[in-house]
């Protein structure tokens, strides 16, 4: 017992940090009262904060990443992971209230656009789930962009930004639409800076917050700071998974089982308590891009350019808007990324219609119909795509489950949107029951997926808080 006491103490110490992280979202590292200055330039990885990745407690064979991590807010709602926060927010990126206030103001301000008609908010409206419900977004002069506006909610946790992941950070992302000719249409960062600096309240605000004159980097930083406050959890699903069995109804539970089983949604939209985004943040060709009639030709042209290895030719392709459906390929220049787009988060999916990179699916029914038939066949279709054979009641269950991922903040709006989509249940342009049931076409045969009638595929604890109700 002498030895045991020591062992138990060691044990307790080893687990103190992960426990705090996983259960109480404690801050990881720095004293909140005195944020230290950024690391000196010669020590970019100076350990200013401890790693927040929990240790396995089995020694140093696989040490936790020991790069510095951000201070994690102590009041994150359920469904927002403190571990993912620490992974996603770099040290020094923790938003301050002053930065957030400035960023919020910029986010709402049409003066960031060339003709004072479009703000970030125009396409990312906080009242509408931070989207615009347009098929593709409309910029200055009623110009249509190529892509559907993704939500800002939880965008801070994305590994990359934009549908094709071409921006690594929120800061980089925020600066691009302002300069995009079909979005906010400013000619350059300098032009934005000159315009803002001429507005006394902005000049003062930037001086107050960043201690320097307006510059374009700080515009991006301020908007990103605001966006880092737009984490979103606290959905009925979260209450359910944390032990409130009544938080979602029987139909949603069936949908959750299908999500992890026959529906194969978790192939790319897996979630758990550590990573509750329901997105693998990878890029997949699910065939949406192949709906355009000339996709095969475009893909062939793009593939030829890569094969020839002519960088100039590849870059030219990436700039031409007709190639937008090539997706991630335009960034990575890799064959397997042709027609691939980033797996979006499913959180708040009920309030962010329409769907897919081109907004071509009006409702969640269209989305499930698309997957049910195995997507649209094309040479680059993701290997994970196959017909699902979902029945109409199963589609209802899945759609209903997706409605439980709506944050409490959008509870009423989510119900309205779900009702609206239910009203369109009779219009199903993507439905092809013959293909979905294997009576027509060839999109692979259904594999041996778990059968919810025998065993609920969501009951195996993969979400990671299976015992919460007992605490």
């Amino acid at each position: 017992m002498r030895i045991r006491t020591k062992e138990l103490l060691q044990d307790a110490l080893k687990w103190a940090l992960p426990l705090a992280l996983l259960t109480s979202a404690a801050c990881a590292g720095r004293d909140p009262a005195s944020p230290p200055p950024p690391p000196p330039p010669d020590q970019p990885n100076a350990p200013t904060a401890v790693s927040t990745t929990p240790s396995t407690g089995v020694g140093d064979v696989n040490p936790a990443p020991n790069h510095p991590t951000a201070k994690v807010p102590s009041d994150l709602p359920i469904g927002v992971s403190p571990v993912l926060y620490a992974i996603s927010v770099a040290p020094g990126q923790e938003p301050t209230p002053e930065q957030v206030k400035l960023g919020d103001k910029l986010f709402d301000d049409v003066r960031l656009s060339a003709d004072n008609t479009v703000a970030c908010k125009t396409c990312h409206d906080p009242a509408r789930g931070f989207v615009d419900h347009e098929v593709t977004s409309i910029g200055i002069g009623k110009k249509h962009g190529q892509r559907n506006a993704p939500t800002v909610l939880n965008a801070m946790f994305n590994a990359t930004q934009f549908w094709d992941g071409r921006a690594a950070t929120l800061e980089d992302q925020a600066k691009l639409p302002i300069l995009n000719p079909v979005e906010m249409g400013m000619k350059s960062g300098d032009e934005v800076v000159a315009k803002l600096a001429a507005i006394p309240e902005y000049r003062k605000a930037f001086l107050d917050v960043y201690g320097r004159e307006v510059n374009y980097e700080d515009v991006g930083r301020a908007i990103a700071a605001f966006e880092r406050t737009q984490f979103s959890g606290n959905a009925p699903f979260d209450r359910f998974i944390m032990g409130d069995d009544k938080a979602i109804d029987a139909q949603a539970k069936r949908g959750w089982a299908l999500f992890n089983g026959k529906g194969r949604c978790n192939e790319c939209h897996a979630g758990n308590a550590v990573n509750p985004l329901f997105s693998d943040q990878k890029f997949h060709n699910i065939g949406v891009a192949a709906k355009t009639s000339n996709f095969a030709d475009l893909a062939r042209e793009a593939q030829g350019a890569v094969d020839r290895g002519n960088q100039e030719e590849i870059d030219r392709l990436a700039l031409e808007s007709k190639f937008t459906n090539l997706g991630r390929f335009l960034v990575s220049k890799r064959h397997n990324d042709i027609g691939a787009f980033k797996t979006p988060t499913l959180r708040n999916i009920a309030v962010t219609a329409p769907y897919m990179h081109d907004g071509s699916f009006a409702t969640l029914y269209d989305v499930i119909d698309h997957y049910n038939k195995g997507g649209i066949v094309n040479p680059y279709l993701d290997g994970g795509m196959q017909r699902l054979g979902l029945t109409e009641p199963e589609i209802d269950d899945l759609v209903h489950f997706l409605g439980t991922l709506t944050s409490e903040r959008y509870d009423a709006y989510g119900k309205t949107e779900m009702a609206r989509m239910n009203g369109k249940k009779g219009q199903r342009p993507e439905r092809d029951t013959l293909v979905a049931t294997g009576k027509k076409g060839d999109t692979g045969d259904v594999g041996p997926t778990p059968d919810a009638k025998i065993k609920d595929p969501s009951s195996d604890g993969v979400y990671g808080v299976f015992d919460a109700a007992k605490k």
């Binding site: 687990w15 571990v83 609920d456 969501s458 009951s459 299976f466």
Partner: protein
């Protein structure tokens, strides 16, 4: 040891699985039973060791009562000491032999350095085969969280479903002497070839005095994860475990 009984786990599974509605009906037909008397001649609670033979009574505690953590630890120690006295040649570690005792594995190519928010999350080559540092951190944290749940259950008589206050760690501090790498093996107490989960369940029945968990119960899997993680990297010593 000779009676076999049938336990329907449907009710237990339904109570445990918070993540889904469908309970799993399974039948366990082969476990023998360690017949521990309900009470000693003095009317005290009797606790059975997992060897299926050794028992100890707890003075002042009646059947149906739950032991205090100290009482539970004391009786666990007495049982273990009895067992060690009966098995002087047994190979019993006072502390878990864990991974740091093993030489580190050869280095592999490191994923991109630095916080992930700034590395662009590059996706290389194949969609599924590729991963980023961010992926790695998420996978590791997810695994650690699962192991941590197992650790908590391992140390918590209540969550084990125990009825007398005894938990796994009282005989197996930090999962010492659980030898997960030695399964499958013929387990004498069970009279059959067992997997680690079978032995966990046996210990849940005696001495923890709970109901065995379904083979796919998340709690059982989490405890397996914890036990395996505690031993990761230990060289096998055949014949000694």
């Amino acid at each position: 040891m000779r009676i076999s009984r049938k336990i329907s786990l449907a009710a237990a599974a339904a109570a445990i699985l918070t993540a889904g509605g469908v309970a799993v009906a399974q039948n366990r037909t082969t476990n023998p039973v360690h017949d521990v008397p309900a009470a000693s001649a003095n009317g005290n609670l009797v606790v059975g060791l997992c060897d299926g033979k050794t028992t100890a009574e707890v003075p002042g505690v009646k059947p149906g009562q739950t032991l205090t953590p100290k009482q539970a630890q004391d009786v666990s120690d007495r049982l273990m000491n009895d067992w060690k006295a009966k098995n002087p040649g047994a190979n019993w570690d006072d502390a878990p032999k864990v991974a740091q005792n093993a030489p580190p594995p050869p280095a592999r190519p490191a994923p991109p350095e630095g916080p992930v928010a700034s590395n662009g999350g590059k996706q290389e080559a194949h969609t599924y085969g590729s991963y980023t540092k961010r992926d790695e951190e998420i996978w590791k944290a997810s695994t650690d969280a699962f192991i941590e749940q197992g650790r908590q259950i391992f140390h918590d008589a209540g969550r084990l479903g125990g009825t007398i206050g005894v938990s796994c760690d009282m005989c197996h501090p930090n999962a010492a002497n659980t030898h997960p790498e030695t399964y499958p093996k013929y387990q004498v107490q069970l009279g059959r070839v067992a997997m680690l989960r079978d032995m966990i369940n046996w210990c849940i029945e005696n001495p923890v005095r709970g109901k065995p968990l379904a083979d796919d119960d998340p709690k059982l899997k989490a405890m397996e994860a914890y036990i395996l993680a505690q031993r990761k990297g230990v060289a096998l010593e055949y014949g000694k475990h």
